[in-house]
Amino acid sequence: MDISNAKYINADGEGNDGIEAIIDGSKLYIPLDTANRHYAEILRQVAAGTLTIADAD
């Protein structure tokens, strides 16, 4: 899975409630749920040191 431009979403300053990222060429909105395959892969790549998640705007 090719993941880039991962960034947390925090729309109202109350805490991160998702991640937006480019995955295999598409901009996707990913929930913070380890049962979600995209979030599980993000966590795997972060742990492997090949991906970082930027702070929310």
């Binding site: 899975m1 090719d2 979403i9 729309a11 109202d12 409630d17 998702g18 937006e20 295999d24 598409s26 901009k27 996707l28 909105y29 990913i30 929930p31 749920d33 049962a35 979600n36 395959r37 995209h38 979030y39």
Partner: protein
């Protein structure tokens, strides 16, 4: 009535489709293609094709998958057609060419894999290829990291053949039996030596072919058709179970759902504005999703209709699946009227991905 008569009646019932609910696999007759029935190219990892089926192609070769009306008999309406669209005639050790379906743990838990009660299972399907020879596939657990390679022979090119494969249960490993990945069924097309193993035995790791595998990916424009796939407990392949289109679609929508764009302005979700930058809305779905989904939509194409104003969304977050409702935060840069009601008006399809 004699025992023999009972068994004869049971056999007749099975032939007539009377033994239902046995198949653990979804969309085995390839009725459902929510991502489109035209050719989808597999050229990397996890490229979804027909619902519940995905492919991998790494090493220079590619193939497409599309819905076909080429079928073995009038019992079926559709098959999946795989076509070699870029040949890899010099497969390196790490190259992989495969197609698979993932089955949720709940659906395969009766197999009791990972326990002393593990049961035999039988996979059956119709297949036709332009290249005759020995083909391979595997049963694989992503959580237990266990595999069982099976071989089957396509005796004649371009001829539909029916295959049945029975394997022993696996008594080893920690298998998912809830809403995770319970069992993956692979079909291989000529991968590298890294994923080649021994047939007809459970072993550790992820492998799906033997050295006998036909070099399908090395055969220019090769085709491979398949349909009528069934996985069931036991060592006998019973007739394919034809579910209604509606039932099959609902089973698929547990993993992937599409909210179709409309040509007119109709709302897809309703809720309220929690702040000037965030809505809390509910999208009613027909089926409970397996897990909280990834949302695929261009946020700027979503209008938030609130307090007599249309505001373009900036992002979507907090996708929470509860029952048949999906709760989303549809966010905007500014301008929403806090605590006012709102409607969400998508201008393009939204997809909700809870795939395994």
């Amino acid at each position: 009535m004699s025992r023999a008569r009972d068994l004869a009646d049971l056999g007749g019932s099975a032939d007539a489709g009377g033994l239902t609910g046995r198949s653990m696999l979804i969309n085995g007759a390839f009725q459902i293609w929510q991502r489109g029935t035209s050719a989808i190219t597999v050229s990397g990892d996890d490229d979804f094709t027909a619902d519940r089926f995905k492919g991998w192609a790494n090493g220079g070769g590619t193939f497409t998958v599309e819905q076909s009306t080429d079928v073995p008999n009038n019992e079926f309406e559709f098959s999946a057609k795989l076509t070699n669209t870029a040949t890899d005639s010099s497969v390196a050790a790490g190259d992989d060419y495969r197609w698979a379906t993932d089955i949720e743990g709940y659906n395969v838990s009766p197999l009791a894999y990972g326990s002393s009660d593990a049961k035999k299972a039988t996979l059956s399907f119709w297949v036709k290829s332009s290249l005759a020879g020995t083909y391979c596939g595997a049963f694989y657990s992503t959580t237990a990291s266990r595999h069982y390679i099976y071989e089957y022979t396509i005796s004649s090119a371009d001829t539909w053949e029916y295959k049945t494969i029975t394997i022993d249960g696996d008594t080893t490993g920690s298998w998912n039996r809830t809403n995770g990945n319970g069992l993956r069924i692979y079909w291989g097309f000529g991968s590298g030596s890294d994923v080649q193993g021994t047939a007809d035995a459970w072993a550790a790791g992820e492998k799906w072919e033997t050295t006998n595998q036909a070099a399908w990916i090395g055969s220019a424009s090769a085709t491979f058709f398949i349909t009528g796939i069934k996985l069931e407990i036991g060592q006998t392949a019973t007739p394919f179970e034809h579910r209604s289109y509606g039932d099959e679609l609902a089973l698929c929508q547990r993993y992937f759902a599409v909210l179709q764009d409309t040509t007119a302005a109709y709302a897809g979700g309703f809720g309220f504005c929690n702040s000037t930058t965030k809505t809390k809305v509910c999208f009613p779905l027909g089926v409970a999703l397996r897990a909280n989904p990834t949302v695929n939509v261009t946020a700027a194409t979503i209008d938030i209709r609130n307090n007599a104003t249309n505001t373009a969304a900036s992002s979507v977050s907090a996708a929470i699946a509860q029952g048949t409702n999906l709760y989303l935060d549809v966010n905007a840069a500014s301008g929403l009227a806090t605590n006012h009601a709102c409607a969400i008006d998508p201008k393009q399809n939204m997809t909700f991905d809870a795939e395994l």
